[in-house]
């Protein structure tokens, strides 16, 4: 390795400490030193005819020396101060001073580009608008990062808003879009963010690179930050919220911002003209820096702004805070919307499958066969229109709502008629356990419906997991409760009808609302109709909450009564009565209790009356008790 013969060392108070070590270098390089404060008073005096300069000073001093270097053609090296970690990362320097001195004294300086913003040098980054936490997450592993991120994030995320950006490139291409912020990155290795966005960008490619950050929602921005943290080098696609423009010269104006912050230390007013100065200066740097910043001949302009809002969306976003969840245009998710539209339309396949699954479920219920009932659940096509209905509600798509409601109604009617018909044909058959388990819905059923709704919307949204819908169909089991309700109708047992239909209705409402909210969380709500959608969803929620609240408070009471009776025993006239099983069904003014009692001695009418009285004492409303008695032998 060749080394310089003579160098000028420029330092401020913080960088002075390196002088002795530098002078004692083992390469016999002659070192002349000057204090930065003296030099800046009369730069020509010190910098004329200088071959190589080593700087150990504040960033602003370093930038001024770089500007001189670009004019007077001396080569430049840096000895980073303890606080200048960015320099170390940027130039692939070391944490050890002697290694950095070795690099600084080498005679192998190469040219790099310089970026100017309105004539001021940009060393690391220039920022316009709001891009909270970008720097922080791009330096993953920094101590205390999580706490710092939470502190900043909490205060800034909900203040983010998109502003109008007007951009013009060197070729005269004019772009109008909306973004929360933008930045110009002038190095390829500073951070994970750089590597993620600038995989082919070099400090020697003769281009300025402008990155626009335009999240549609806080969630999307968080996803973007998360993608930076979890970035892997195999990742090729640009994150959703990002757009990039590469050109020799970029003029940027942001309506809503006044200035560009340069390297976090200084600022210049907008509009800003970013201009590349090719081969602006020769510097010394570590080996990896040169590997990653290979000399390139200037490329064509690059404009990747597909992820940024179009004119129509931009109008909706400007001048208001970005929402927590994303909105989306239909074009973005065309395939999904087409599929959901199709799902909302009634066709012959649907009718045939609905009939078959209902008949199968009804037979399975009568034969008390779980396997047959599960088979019927898999056949049942009712989930699809409910999911379409959920999307229709979210986007206030009247056509989708109308069609899916018609399809659901047709399905319910068919199922009730078919199962009632089968029940009429088999009048002698009694209620089986498979049926009884579907006439007393409780809050757990609501839980099943809600999580099935989430799962249904989620699996529908991603083609690769669409096969999971079968599992969702089994979990929520829409057709069997309808079949039981139909059986109730067919047998003229309205208790069975109402109980089972309540279970179906619970599933319907639970799935619809949960799927609507899931689609919203996944970013499928409409930009244009969002307010209307939210109003419809809220209205439906309120409208369904009232009957559900009342019916569920009754269910909870019944459930509590059932639990209470299950744990009760009775000593009636010295006869010990064990409650073996209990089923409570609430009717308008009467609570019907079906008991199976286990006793040793025969129960007389007076014993039963005492038992009834003791049960009645526990509740305020009237009880109607039916009991089967088993004897312990």
């Amino acid at each position: 390795m060749e080394y310089k013969k003579k160098v000028l060392f420029i330092s401020d108070d913080s960088g002075k400490k390196y002088l002795e070590q530098l002078k004692a270098n083992p390469f016999d390089v002659e070192v002349t030193a000057v204090e930065a404060s003296h030099l800046l008073l009369d730069p020509k005096k010190y910098l004329t005819d200088v071959g190589h300069v080593i700087v150990a000073a504040d960033i602003e001093v370093a930038k001024q020396i770089m500007m001189f270097g670009s004019q007077q053609e001396f080569t430049l090296a840096f000895l980073p101060l303890d606080s200048q970690k960015q320099f170390v990362r940027l130039l692939d320097l070391s944490s050890k001073v002697d290694e950095n001195i070795e690099i600084a004294l080498r005679d192998d300086a190469k040219e790099i580009d310089l970026i100017e913003c309105n004539g001021v040098l940009v060393e690391f980054k220039a920022t316009i608008g709001q891009v909270p936490l970008i720097d922080l997450v791009s330096q993953r592993g920094r101590p205390g990062m999580v706490f710092h991120a939470l502190k900043i994030g909490a205060s800034q995320f909900f203040k983010m808003r998109l502003q109008q950006f007007e951009i013009e490139t060197a070729n005269g291409k004019k772009i109008r879009t909306a973004a929360s912020g933008a930045f110009v990155l002038e190095h390829g290795r500073q951070s994970i963010l750089s590597r993620m966005i600038l995989s082919d960008h070099s400090r020697r490619d003769g281009q300025v690179l402008l990155v626009l950050v335009s999240p549609f929602s806080v969630v999307e921005y968080l996803k973007f930050l998360f993608s930076i943290i979890t970035f892997s080098s195999t990742q090729k696609t640009l994150p959703d919220a990002i757009g990039i423009i590469k050109s020799k010269e970029i003029t940027v104006n942001a309506i809503g911002s006044k200035e560009v912050v340069l390297d976090e230390h200084s600022s210049v007013a907008l509009p800003a003209k970013f201009k590349v100065k090719e081969h602006g200066i020769k510097i010394n740097a570590g080996a990896k820096f040169w590997e990653e910043n290979v000399q390139k001949s200037p490329e064509k302009e690059t404009i990747k702004i597909d992820n940024l809002p179009d004119e129509k969306e931009m109008k909706k976003y400007l001048n208001s805070h970005i929402p927590f969840f994303s909105y989306a245009s239909e074009e973005r998710f065309k395939e999904l919307f087409l599929s959901l539209r199709k799902d909302s339309e009634t066709d012959m396949h649907y009718i045939v499958l609905m009939l078959l699954s209902t008949i199968l479920a009804t037979i399975g219920l009568f034969s008390n066969s779980s396997a047959v009932v599960i088979g019927a659940m898999l056949l049942a096509p009712l989930m699809a229109p409910i999911v379409s209905f959920a999307m229709g509600m979210l986007r206030a798509d009247e056509r989708m709502i109308e069609f899916s409601l018609m399809k659901i109604t047709a399905g319910i009617t068919l199922a009730l008629l078919a199962s009632a018909g089968v029940a009429l044909l088999l009048p002698e058959l009694a209620l089986t356990n498979e049926m009884k388990s579907r006439i007393n819905p409780n809050l757990l059923d609501m839980g099943v419906a809600v999580f099935s709704g989430v799962a249904a919307a989620y699996s529908k949204s991603f083609k690769e997991i669409a096969q999971s819908l079968a599992g969702v169909a089994i979990a929520v089991a829409l057709v069997p409760p309808l079949s039981v309700a139909g059986i109730g109708l067919g047998q003229g047992n309205m208790d069975v009808f109402f109980g089972a239909f309540l279970l179906f209705f619970t599933n319907l409402v639970g799935i619809s609302i949960a799927a609507t909210l899931t689609f919203q969380a996944l970013g499928f709500s409409s930009v244009v109709k969002s307010r209307k959608s939210m109003f419809i969803v809220s209205a439906l929620l309120i409208a369904t909450s009232f009957p559900l609240y009342f019916s569920y408070s009754k269910i909870i009471q019944s459930y509590q009564l059932e639990k209470f009776i299950e744990q009760s025993r009775f000593l009636v006239n010295d006869k010990y009565v064990i409650i073996k099983s209990v089923s409570v069904v609430d009717r308008d003014e009467v609570t019907v209790i079906d008991l199976t009692l286990s006793v040793r001695e025969a129960l007389k009418r007076q014993d039963l009356e005492l038992l009834r009285q003791r049960l009645q004492d526990q509740v305020e409303h009237k009880l109607f008790i039916r009991a089967e008695v088993e004897y312990i032998l």
Partner: protein, 379 residues
């Protein structure tokens, strides 16, 4: 406008203040003198003192009857001596003109004073004594705790018909009427439904003598130990079971856990999984009275147990009976109100009294972490 606004705000405040205020009872000036006799010293002092704490709590919460008559409690110690109870009672009668008596004494003590009660025709509420002959032996006694016959029969049915266990050994104290009668009633009920009593062991046996007996019972395949013994001897039994690593089901009688806690077995592994027949459970639904009692206990930093609660309910029964009495409330009328009382809210459930005998649910509790959790509730 401002005046109107202030008027509305003040009216609303007044209204809300009125809503939050509890109905107050004005003192009538009349005093009911209630004697209280219990074991406040001697062997059973821990039971008596806890019960007295419950009674004092009830008195502090409800110092007046529904019509404002004041209750005065006059407390006497029977020194845990069943023989002395009658004497103490007579002494109390000589000192004060009592309207009623609440006794916290054990079954033996109450049985010893029955003659005096009958002679004096004084209404008596028995808080803790559970021997069945107590209520049948006197037309002036009303009982608040469940009787031995009730709880032992429930235990027998539970073991045989719900746990399906048919080989049981009994551990009892031959010297107390309480323990004797429980053991006898249990044995009778258990045998009647097909159970087999393999052995009867008395608490008089030393630990040294008990050890080989228990080892033999283990070998013989005994599945259940039914114990009506409280205090140190029940601690010994549990420790022996642990020592023998014997996975036998143990069912104890009322107040057993409280008594075990007194002997430092709180939370011990040997207590874990124990079944007890009880008047209460720690996890049952609280009534308003239980809320008031717990608040009082917290404020005064006292720990309540079954005995405290039974004494509390004895006082509640007295209040309920007095509330139903006509003006002046003569002794005869008070007695009949006490002995046949339809329903009142106790600490865990509704309670009624028919011919002096309480009708209340019996809990079969499961002990976990030194607390009693309801396993079953027998009405």
């Amino acid at each position: 406008m401002r005046t109107l606004y202030l008027f509305v705000v003040f009216s609303l405040m007044l209204f809300l203040t009125g809503c939050g205020e509890r109905e107050t009872i004005k003192p009538s000036g009349k005093v009911f003198k209630i004697g209280v006799i219990g074991p406040l010293s001697g062997d059973s002092a821990s039971i008596g003192r806890k019960a007295l704490e419950g009674l004092q709590a009830a008195y502090a919460i409800h110092p007046l009857t529904a019509i404002g008559d004041r209750i005065e409690l006059i407390v006497k110690d029977d020194e845990s001596s069943p023989k002395k109870v009658a004497e103490v009672f007579l002494g109390l009668l000589a000192e004060e003109k009592l309207d009623a008596l609440i006794t916290l004494s054990t079954s033996d003590g109450v049985m010893n004073m029955t003659k005096v009660i009958n002679a004096q025709k004084l209404p008596v509420i028995v808080a803790l004594a559970s021997h069945e002959s107590i209520t049948t032996g006197s037309p002036y006694i009303s009982r608040v705790c469940m009787s031995n016959a009730q709880q032992s029969r429930v235990a027998a049915y539970f073991i045989h018909d719900e746990l399906f266990l048919e080989k049981t050994a009994i551990f009892y104290n031959a010297e107390t009427a309480y323990s004797n009668s429980l053991a006898y009633s249990f044995q009778e009920a258990y045998k009647k439904i097909g159970g087999e009593i393999i052995a009867e062991m008395t608490s008089g046996l030393s630990t040294k003598a008990l050890r080989p007996i228990l080892r033999g019972l283990k070998t013989e395949g005994v599945e259940v130990l039914y114990t009506s013994v409280k205090g140190k001897r029940s601690v010994d039994l549990l420790r022996l079971r642990q020592e023998l690593d014997w996975d036998v089901v143990i069912i104890g009688s009322d107040g057993m856990l409280g008594s075990l806690k007194e002997y430092g077995l709180k939370g011990a592994r040997s207590v874990e999984g124990l079944f007890v027949t009880e008047n209460y459970a720690d996890d049952s639904v609280a009534t308003i009275e239980e809320v008031l009692l717990e608040r009082y206990a917290k404020k005064n930093d006292i720990l309540l147990n079954t005995h405290s609660k039974l004494a509390y309910e004895s006082y509640l029964l007295l209040l309920e009976a007095l509330a139903q009495c006509s003006s002046g409330c003569k002794s005869d009328e008070l007695n009949s109100r006490l002995r046949d009382h339809e329903v009142f809210r106790g600490l865990n459930d509704r309670i009624s009294v028919i011919e002096g005998e309480v009708q209340r649910p019996i809990f079969i509790n499961h002990v976990h972490n030194a607390k009693m959790f309801m396993h079953l509730k027998v009405y």
